[in-house]
Symmetry: C2
Subunit: 403 residues, 2 copies
Amino acid sequence: MISDFNEILSESAKGMKKSAIRELLKLTQVPGIISFAGGLPAPESFPVEDLKKIIIEVLEEQASSALQYGATEGDQGLREVITKAYIKDGLDISIENVVITTASQQGLDLIAKIFINRGDKVLVGLPSYLGGLGAFNNYGANMIGIPFDEHGMRSDKVEEILADLKSKGEKPKFIYVIPDFQNPAGITMPNFRRKEIIDLAKKYDVLIIEDSPYRELRFEGEHQERMYAIDNTGQVVILGTFSKIFVPGFRIGWLIAHKDITDKIIVSKQSTDLCTSPFVQKLAVKYVRDGYFDKNLKNTIKLYREKRHIMLKGFEEYMPEGVTWTRPEGGLFLFLTVPEHIDSGKLFDKAIEKKVAFVKGSVFHCDGSGKNTMRINFSYASKEDIKEGVKRLAQVIKEALNE
Amino acid sequence: MISDFNEILSESAKGMKKSAIRELLKLTQVPGIISFAGGLPAPESFPVEDLKKIIIEVLEEQASSALQYGATEGDQGLREVITKAYIKDGLDISIENVVITTASQQGLDLIAKIFINRGDKVLVGLPSYLGGLGAFNNYGANMIGIPFDEHGMRSDKVEEILADLKSKGEKPKFIYVIPDFQNPAGITMPNFRRKEIIDLAKKYDVLIIEDSPYRELRFEGEHQERMYAIDNTGQVVILGTFSKIFVPGFRIGWLIAHKDITDKIIVSKQSTDLCTSPFVQKLAVKYVRDGYFDKNLKNTIKLYREKRHIMLKGFEEYMPEGVTWTRPEGGLFLFLTVPEHIDSGKLFDKAIEKKVAFVKGSVFHCDGSGKNTMRINFSYASKEDIKEGVKRLAQVIKEALNE
């Protein structure tokens, strides 16, 4: 081995943190632990029998293209299916605005790759998705956190930052938002807030990244408008994925953007992984076209609605006073806040002893704040485990409050 | 859309070239064209019937893990299978030295990400694999080309460069080599040359990247030692893939390296695509463990040996004097050299008119040289098409020589 390994690493590698969440998730795999930690879909939502049928059909009808290398921009059929679905959702796009990615984490990586030089500023939520923060961090982004209110990212704070940067002749590379059932906060931005953020992006000439992995999982209430559709000039980039609404194990996502952006993304993706698996893309096309997608999505929504209900009922019944939580209208997560003097990182250790797990909220805050918050997932655990896990968690918090 | 799109791009995106080969490959998809251009495996080598069986078994036995998110470092079973195979090939490694990647292109991307700052030097072959050059270019590498002789990368030239850099207090981040059936040259480094390069790497304290997608496809002659095994201290990083010896459409590769390196690669991969599809990884494990891999590899080797034979025979029969070519002992490519005054880029247009395609050699040269060379693939076209394509290509070259 060479003598100066640590010195020859790139600035990027030097700045990489061993993911806190990755280490935590290992702990949560200990048998007997009820995990509200990961962001995993329910295994009982996986359409195993449908897949058996589809896979055999794909192998009988199109094995020589499904098993071969494919186009970097993605399977033509899959791009068509996605284009259609998003046009229905109000977007003014055509197929050239759609690139298939190796799940939406790759979308985040490629966006960072084509826009971020070391030290560039980006605006992110306080809190925000850890995988987004990680991708931007790998390219040396300087993240500026925007606090939340009950409607999500605060537009007054966005304007404050943008105006301040402008006064110095600067602007951020983009504003990163997760408008539907935000991870980790479980908050959905109402239309008025979306419009405020779009207006600011127009005024200050800044791109918006609309990360949207959960939108289809709405349990109640009305769909708010897509931020891309509110603008419809291509100033917004959408990241989508099948991970939460089909299966995560296929690693299929997509990026929808102005053609100037998709052109760069395609060139960048080519050197990153050449193409996303044509095999799983062809399965996905058949899955959507033959009606399985709509049928199964309904069942998944029903399942997650029930699980969320059980969790919220448990919280109401068992949580001590002083603890608050969000009530998501969809998605996979809710966010819990304990009194300020309690550190959820310390609660975690006690929770593991009691065999229940969550993720401490500070990891979602680029400034390290949020120490009295925690992200709670309700999609993965079984209904029985949710009931029991909530009791255990409430007990841990009560004990901490009594100390 | 924002007003200053081209200005806000990262340095990386500004330096990205629309891949010449990507544009060329589109041309080669015109019906009737016999393509020696891409590096595609033969579709007739895909084990479609075996796969049907394996897939149903995986879905029946382990759907809930195969369709779920997986570990960033890869499926435990697949890492075990690969560790075993490489120990057999002389490597002193354990499972912690193995990371599964989304095919070996991702390995190249991650290696570049953890080592290259803009302007850093790397040594590459003249010629070298285009996807490697592209990945390094995306991170702003300054590539120094090392000329070839009949044994591959010239060690005297490697030493010249390393000594020169050392005199300036510099060294390259790594030396990128493809020792077996090199893409595009079709040359295999003999053991003595491998040892010379390793000795230089030790002397000058430099890492080696041993890109090895074709090694298993040997038609004749003896296996040369793995460069990793010659060193066995972890100063060499291996990139491997199933793309050429199973199916490319699953996008499964691996990286074998010192644990200090795999640790960084795993953290970096997490923000790049979280994990490689657990579904296709579990298919691969079963494919190897149940004996399909060994059986089918034998057939693929036999098929490619025949195709290469037909191509070489055709060249001998039809190529005009002054044209030379390599005689690969394995792999997918051979390299053809025409007299110096002929530009293979111009030949390409004429070849397309005659409905035969190749890739001009200059794209594999980081310094733009090699204008009178071309890469010829013999794995993809059918045997009949190889016969006919060689005739057409010889005709195009003859006409250019007569002009």
